[in-house]
């Protein structure tokens, strides 16, 4: 297929049909389960997957789990509930804050942050970001932490590798606790867990092993994020979710997927990932996307580095 800005456009009707056949077949015939459980994050991926499950299995066979914690953006719960209400599915809300506290997640993580900012306490919010200048210059990925007090006054510091690993290990427990809850509700109802990882995330390793990556089926893992949006519009996902900037929503201070991981907006990122995956000549990509080949080289190096660092997420555990 010739590379163009429209290369990711799909026939949404046919794609929806294909995916709901997949969900139907997998759930009822392969897994021999009676329905599906989905974690409703208030984002577009889980909204699309739940819409697809409703079409494939019927609304009576779909449960939406809402799994907020004290640092979640309140609109995530609000939008998740509104989307569930629109589809007419059963929902269960489990606040996972107590689970995380019992594992001392906040305590362990905050002790790392306090070493960097002694004044850090519950009145502060924080997030972690990568440098955003991927297209502009050759640079390396390093994580910076920003804390903000109640008045919005913020401070930023670079994290060492050790500090980032400890903060990240704590944050990842949030997704892993959610996975435990999803499997509890799935197993007790003889349902399966439907995952919500898209292709952009899968290729670049933007999910947590045995967290949001711990699922039974992945109905949209073959679709780039912008294709998920095409389905969201076709399926009638609520507008608030479609308009919301994609975010991991695991930090108390808002941060977008772009700021936290990808460093490029999805609209451009997906076209570049397509070019990378399909070995489209760089001069062709350059012409279509109006980028210099040097910029494409930088982005491809970043893709490769993330792909290499996360290869094990896409594999079963190696054996002899």
């Amino acid at each position: 297929m010739k590379f163009s800005k429209e290369v990711l456009n799909m026939d949404a009707f046919l794609e929806v049909r294909r995916i709901y056949d997949f969900i139907h077949e997998m759930t009822l015939k392969n897994f021999k389960r009676k329905g599906a459980v989905i974690g409703l994050s208030g984002g577009v991926d889980s909204a699309v997957v739940s819409e697809l499950c409703v079409r494939a299995l019927g609304k009576e066979r779909v449960i939406g789990l809402l799994l907020p914690e004290k640092e979640s953006n309140p609109v995530s719960l609000q939008y998740g509930l509104k989307q569930a209400d629109k589809m007419g599915i059963q929902t269960v809300k489990v606040d996972i804050t107590d689970h995380l506290m019992s594992l001392k997640v906040y305590e362990k993580r905050d002790s790392v942050i306090k070493q960097l900012f002694p004044e850090f306490d519950h009145s502060y919010r924080f997030h972690v970001m990568l440098p955003q200048n991927l297209l502009e210059q050759d640079r390396l990925n390093y994580h910076s932490i920003t804390i903000a007090d109640g008045s919005g006054k913020s401070q930023t510091k670079r994290l060492s590798g050790k500090e980032w690993l400890e903060i990240s290990a704590c944050q990842n427990i949030k997704q892993r606790v959610r996975m435990i809850q999803l499997y509890y509700y799935a197993e007790k109802n003889n349902y399966l867990v439907a995952g919500t990882t898209n292709k952009t995330e899968a290729m670049q390793g933007f999910y947590v092993k045995f967290g949001d990556g711990g699922v039974d089926i992945e109905p949209i893992a073959h679709l780039y994020k912008m294709q998920v949006y095409q389905l969201a519009n076709y399926l009638g996902v609520i507008q608030e979710i479609i308009d919301r900037p994609p975010s991991p929503d695991t930090y108390s201070l808002p941060v977008s997927d772009k700021e936290f991981y990808f460093c490029i907006d999805y609209a451009l990122l997906d076209l570049l990932l397509y070019g990378y995956e399909n070995n489209v000549p760089k001069n062709e990509i350059s012409k279509v996307l109006n980028l210099e080949e040097q910029q494409i080289d930088r982005v491809f190096k970043d893709f490769k580095a993330k792909e290499q660092a996360t290869w094990h997420l896409r594999q079963m555990p190696p054996t002899i």
Binding site: N141, S160, G161, K162, K301, A305
Partner: protein
């Protein structure tokens, strides 16, 4: 030990588990997959601690960190600037 040997030893011991025969001075850490982004930050911490300098954010670029010779050249430039 000279700067080159110090950096080489750190990379071989920490990222290649002692098996550094194939590591050349100009081997790209990232392209060869020897060091990932977390590893680069370990390297930065090692450089800062061993050589008593602070690397600014805008110095965290491949030109300064992506091979043994890049690190050595960076440290030499840094020392010259301090003199």
């Amino acid at each position: 030990m000279d700067i080159m040997g110090t950096i080489r030893n750190f990379v071989v011991e920490n990222f290649l588990f002692g098996e550094g025969e194939q590591l050349k001075e100009d081997t790209s850490f990232l392209e060869s997959g020897i060091v990932d982004s977390t590893g680069i930050l370990e390297l930065v911490a090692f450089i800062e601690e061993t050589f008593g300098i602070r690397m600014a954010d805008d110095e965290l670029i491949p030109e300064n960190l992506d091979s043994i010779s890049n690190v050595v050249n960076y440290l030499q430039r840094k020392r010259e600037a301090l003199v």
